[in-house]
């Protein structure tokens, strides 16, 4: 709908590592048995992505299919495609035990990109971000500073962060401050 806005309304900071709000992002939280073929099939229909391995985000163009836990997936689709996606899932899985929820507005999608983007994340998350450990496609739920977040690596210098809408400002400012403070010189 035209009057929808993202929490950060497209904020961005420039620099050697940029931090950018990706605006409205369609997201579906799907609770269900991720080993179920019908489930992964409809997720592929909705996102175009194959089922991810544990701790992975399978990316297909602007869409994604992320492994959140053994019984939870995060589907990334265009904001306007969420209702159709939910309809497909609800139709296909009808009769099964699952729960699909629109969480597009509950969360924010921020991209951290640049030469030392991995170090910007490692400043605020207790996660091994060394390129030998955290590969492209890896998807991790942890905390950034004091709030829950999930992030995945889409290329060597680009990380996508998902956090709750109410703390999007905190996460953005935290990442921007970490980026501004400069590289650590550890991973590169």
């Amino acid at each position: 709908m035209s009057n929808a806005i993202s929490a950060l309304e497209g904020r961005a900071v420039a620099g050697d590592v940029t931090v950018t709000d990706m605006g409205l992002q369609g997201m579906i939280s799907l609770r269900g048995d991720l080993s179920d073929k019908a489930l992964t099939k409809v997720c592929k229909t909705v996102t175009g992505a194959d089922a991810p391995k544990p701790l992975q985000m399978a990316v297909a163009g602007p869409n994604g299919f992320g492994w959140m836990s053994p019984d939870e997936a995060l589907l990334l689709v265009p904001y306007d495609a969420v209702r159709d996606g939910l309809t497909s899932i609800n139709n296909v899985l009808s009769g099964q035990h699952f729960l699909a929820s629109n969480v597009s507005d509950a969360r924010a999608h921020i991209v951290v990109s640049g030469a030392y983007a991995d170090e910007v994340i490692a400043k605020v998350a207790p996660v091994d971000m060394h390129p030998d450990s955290f590969a492209i496609g890896d998807f991790r739920r942890s905390h950034l500073g004091q709030v829950a977040a999930a992030f995945w690596k889409s290329d060597a210098n680009t990380f996508h962060v998902i956090c709750f809408r109410s703390v999007a400002g905190y996460v953005f400012d935290l990442l921007a401050a970490s980026a501004k403070a400069g590289p650590v010189g550890y991973t590169s």
Partner: protein
């Protein structure tokens, strides 16, 4: 005097002058200087006063063990006290001031304490200030507090920034001397991911000063070559000016990196939060002072420090240096001084003989060596002028006085075992070398029960270059292997050593020193603890080393006993007639040396101090007079202030306008949990005290949740969405905790039940549209039928309002006609705007949490956290109607059957009305007759909610009162701090629209 020598220091760049100031004097140093070396180069030997006696204090060391040279550094937003001059790299514009003196460093009034020292023995404060008791609070403590403290506390905010960094490595190496370098070679070549930290600004440690031969070259050449090899390894990260601060459980290590000084934009300090599979502690050793009378005078330094200042910084401490020692190493200092053209009148060696190669070299250089001798006393005031020499074996009869302006002392070396010990590594006493060193059989253990700290080199008790290198290399190899790295490591570097004669432990000089001499033989320079104090403590029965520490304050200064601990416990063991290992050491606790508060905080300051949760309408609230209150991490408007009205006026206006026309509440923070699945109804029947499985689709029911203790935990309206799906509203604070609570039961108790829970709290912006005109404003937006028939009270419908896809719940927490409307959060701000526009003709008013509270209290509705406090059960609140009798079980049901819970004497909820219409104080107690066993006034109730009701124009309250519901009309007296008790009548808790007609229209 101390001065800069013509010969250049190894670490300073004399082409780069740096200006700094000390106590307001402008001074000059060079790039590469520490503040200490620069001060000494400017003949600034006196740098502070001791804590207790205010004795003059000079620089003693050249490293982190320094007890005296602590400075107030910087100014304004960049001020920090207690900075060690010996570990502070000089930078342009550095401003330092000495501490703990008044009115000036040169003339200090507190020094009178020194004259009174015989009246200030160990435990003086404990003994003196006990009687008379009231004097402690009113006389003694204020005076002691005034005279205590080293540096000044900073005023205002810290102008610098700080950051954290998380690193996960195979091997972390602490200490960049040749042991660390050797271990890094092995671990790096093996292919392990290595993080290698050195606390100073240069690699190489002591070897760079003493220049032993390594692999056929001078040590400095080998160090340069090794640093180059390591730098070329991608798997090795090297950091100078980075201290391994602490070793913790499961391989967690803190590193403290000092990056930028002088108020740059870049971070000042970085705290490395490291997870390492293996840690190598190549932390070297600290030289011990000798205990002789006057060993605290400025000009008495550790022998190796004297050598370091000459070699590293080109600074001489004095022209005439007497070396006093019990080991061979100090002879190197004499040789270095001689080579620099300085005078060494004598080496006083406490050992009966000294005939090794180093002693021979000293004699060959024309230095007089006196064996079997000691220092009876150091002469001088603010500076050494001479030493009186005596036989070490005797009681201190002076045989000769030697003029000098520097004394270089060495009592042997103590391995730095701090990091080994932080996480439980044990020590063993090495009698031959007179030192505690790591017991490699008893290392700290990790999550697998395996040792994860490997000591290396001197820190492991290996004092010779040959052993340091091989031991370091083996440590690196062992750590890499333990971490799973399998590469070839090649050959260990080889060192060469000249022979040395053994140390002879000397814990007191001379051995039979009189009480007078012992009273001036310092152990702890900063806290003024002397040999006599420890002996007194032992005599008074303080036999445990930990007790002696507290009683005498030995080792409790900011240096944490790095110089004093071993000497102190040797004195204690002698006084107790016990062996040193039987007395043991005090506990080593992190950090190794103090780290800045800023580094600990990292980015968590100012706006990032803690996350603030904001609803989609937050910016509108902030721009329209909202006076925010914290609700957990949320910020919710307490009220919206208009013009120059008071907060109280605003609240009353909001209540009145809502009751009379139309109000809006941002209710987005309320928790929203979707519970779905074939067993969801059964599950909710366990979660709630009510029956939720029977709720028809399309309807809402207010429900209560209890803990297994039976206490009321959360409440909210539950809506039945479809056959298998419920939406549960929780309190604002309960959204995350109730979600976690549900997951806990589903995962850990009823894991065979088919139920999924999804927390959609933040997916929706929710607005309560409240007041007699609520329906009109929604009808004005149009799109769905919100009439009484189409959407009755306690039901919900999906539909459209204007352009907005909404879910509308007809529920009321105010007693008015009320709709709670949920829209996608992204449209929350727009929907709020649409309601304001449509409501303009009704003079719509947003209201805050206080108006919400008042309206619910007028209706007698409970609030979790007001009427409940974790000890209140639903029965206390007369909510038996919400406890389903059709269910065999729900969480808390069994607990509510316990005798105390079923006790008729429990306090129960009633309304309270003051006789004079005033507002009862929050939390006031109802006064009962008599006193309890503790002599306190008995009570029979307490206020749980109290407000001024603008609707009723008087104070209203709710409270829990003993047998309250049976005592309607009774008058109680409530406590009123600072005033007369207030009388209030017990009334029905519903003050407004008892029949509930207004909400159901």
């Amino acid at each position: 005097m101390s001065t800069r020598l013509a010969s250049k220091g190894r670490l300073v760049d004399t082409s780069k002058a740096i200006s700094f100031s000390f106590n307001g004097k402008n001074l000059r140093g060079y790039a590469g200087d520490t503040l200490a070396s620069a001060l000494l180069a400017n003949d600034q030997m006196l740098v502070g006063r001791s804590f207790k006696y205010h004795r003059p204090r000079g620089i003693v060391s050249a490293g982190p063990e320094e007890p005296n040279a602590l400075m107030n550094m910087g100014e304004g937003a960049f001020f920090e006290p207690n900075q060690r001059a010996t570990t502070t790299l000089l930078f342009d514009g550095l401003k330092a001031e000495s501490q703990n003196h008044w009115p000036s460093l040169e003339f200090d009034v507190g020094a009178i304490n020194s004259k009174l020292s015989r009246f200030l023995p160990a435990g003086f404060y404990y003994k003196m200030f006990i009687y008379p008791r009231p004097f402690w609070k009113h006389v003694y403590e204020p005076i002691i507090r005034k005279s205590a403290g080293l540096g000044k506390a900073p005023i205002g905010r810290d102008g610098d920034t700080y950051e954290h960094f998380h690193a996960h490595v195979d091997v972390m190496i602490v200490g960049g001397g040749i042991a660390g370098l050797s271990s890094a070679l092995a671990a790096g070549r093996a292919g392990a991911r290595v993080l290698f930290m050195e606390q100073t600004a240069a690699w190489g440690g002591r070897a760079a000063v003493d220049e032993p031969q390594i692999d056929g070259m001078k040590a400095t050449a080998w160090i340069a070559q090794t640093v180059a090899e390591l730098t070329a390894m991608d798997n090795v990260t090297m950091r100078l000016n980075c201290m391994g601060a602490g070793v913790y459980d499961h391989g967690y290590i803190l590193g403290y990196e000092q990056l930028n000084e002088g108020g740059t934009d870049a971070p000042r300090h970085r705290l490395w939060r490291v997870r390492a599979k293996q840690v190598i502690t190549a932390t070297g050793a600290i030289e011990r002072p000798l205990s002789f009378s006057g060993n605290d005078l400025p000009g008495v330094l550790l022998a190796a420090a004297v050598r370091d200042y000459v070699v590293n910084f080109g600074v001489s401490i004095g022209d005439r240096t007497v070396v006093v020692t019990n080991n061979d190493d100090a002879y190197r200092t004499a040789l270095v001084l001689k080579k620099a053209g300085l005078s060494v009148p004598a080496i006083i060696d406490a050992r009966p003989d000294a005939d090794g190669p180093l002693a021979q070299a000293a004699r060959d250089a024309g230095i007089r060596v006196e064996t079997g001798k000691g220092i009876a006393e150091v002469k001088g005031g603010k500076r050494v002028t001479a030493v009186a020499i005596c036989g070490q074996a005797g009681e201190g009869a002076v045989v000769e006085t030697i003029e000098c302006d520097c004394v270089a002392m060495s009592g042997g070396w103590s391995p730095v075992v701090h990091l080994w010990s932080h996480c439980g590594g044990k020590l063993t006493w090495d009698t031959d070398q007179a030192m505690f060193r790591p017991d490699e059989q008893r290392p700290p253990t990790d999550g697998n029960g395996s040792g994860f700290v490997v000591p290396a080199g001197i820190a492991n008790g290996h004092l010779f270059t040959t052993d340091v290198l091989t031991n370091g290399f083996a440590a690196g190899q062992a750590a890499a292997t333990a971490a799973g790295a399998k590469g070839k490591v090649g050959k260990a570097p080889e060192g060469y050593d000249e022979a040395q004669e053994p140390i002879v432990p000397v814990w007191l000089m001379p051995q039979g020193a009189s009480h007078e001499l012992r009273s001036k033989a310092w152990l702890d320079f900063q806290n003024d603890v002397k040999v006599s104090d420890v002996q007194l403590a032992a005599q008074e029965g303080f036999e445990s080393v930990e007790h002696t520490k507290r009683y005498t304050t030995l080792g409790m200064a900011t240096d944490q006993g790095k110089l004093s601990n071993i000497n102190g416990l040797a004195v204690l063991s002698k006084a107790l007639n016990a062996d040193i290992p039987d007395v043991g050491t005090t506990t080593f606790r992190p950090p190794y040396t103090p780290i800045s508060m800023g580094a600990i905080a990292g980015a968590a300051r100012d706006d990032l101090f803690q996350p603030i949760r904001k609803t989609p309408m937050y910016d509108w609230h902030a721009g329209n007079g909202a006076d925010f209150e914290p609700v957990g991490q949320w910020r919710r408007p307490y009220a919206y202030i208009r013009g120059d009205e008071t907060l109280h006026d605003a609240v009353n206006r909001e209540v009145t306008q809502t009751r009379e026309s139309l109000g809006l509440l941002d209710a987005s923070t309320l928790g929203k949990l979707v519970v779905s699945g074939p067993d969801a109804g059964q599950f909710l029947d366990m979660m709630y005290t009510n029956l939720m499985s029977s709720l028809p689709v399309g309807k809402c029911r207010y429900g209560l949740m209890c803990t297994e203790n039976g206490f009321l935990m959360d409440d909210g309206v539950v809506a039945r969405i479809d056959d298998q799906t419920w939406l549960c509203h929780t309190t604002t604070g309960g959204a995350d905790s109730i979600h976690a609570w549900m997951e806990d039961w589903l995962q850990c108790e009823w894991w065979d039940w088919k139920v999924y829970v999804s927390n959609v709290t933040e997916q929706f912006a929710q607005v309560a549209v409240v007041g007699p005109n609520a329906r009109k404003v929604l009808e004005k937006l149009g799109g769905m039928d919100v009439s009484k028939d189409a959407l009755p009270f306690m039901q919900w419908r999906d539909g459209m309002l204007g352009d907005f896809k909404v879910r509308v719940y007809r529920i009321s927490f105010s007693g008015e006609l009320s709709y709670e409307v949920a829209v996608d959060a992204g449209q929350g701000r727009a929907f709020w705007g649409a309601l304001l526009d449509a409501g303009a003709e009704f003079d719509v008013m947003p209201y805050g949490t206080e108006a919400l509270h008042i309206m619910r209290a007028e209706k007698g509705f409970i609030m979790i956290g007001d009427e409940t406090d974790g000890t209140v059960i639903p029965q206390d609140l007369n909510m038996q109607w919400a406890l389903s009798k059709k269910k065999d079980d729900y969480l808390g049901k069994r607990a509510q059957e316990r005798s105390h819970m079923a006790d008729p004497d429990r306090w129960k909820l009633v309304g309270l009305e003051t006789l004079d219409g005033s507002v009862l104080p929050d939390g006031a107690y109802a006064i009962a007759e008599g006193t309890n066993d503790n002599g306190q006034q008995n009570t029979e109730g307490r206020v749980t909610s109290t407000y001024y009701s603008p609707t009723l124009k008087r104070g209203i309250a709710m409270g829990l009162v003993h047998k309250g519901p049976d005592r309607m009309g009774d008058t109680l007296r409530f406590t009123n701090i600072g005033g007369e008790p207030i009388e209030a009548k017990i009334v029905d808790q519903v003050f407004y629209d008892k029949a509930g007609e207004k909400q159901d229209v």
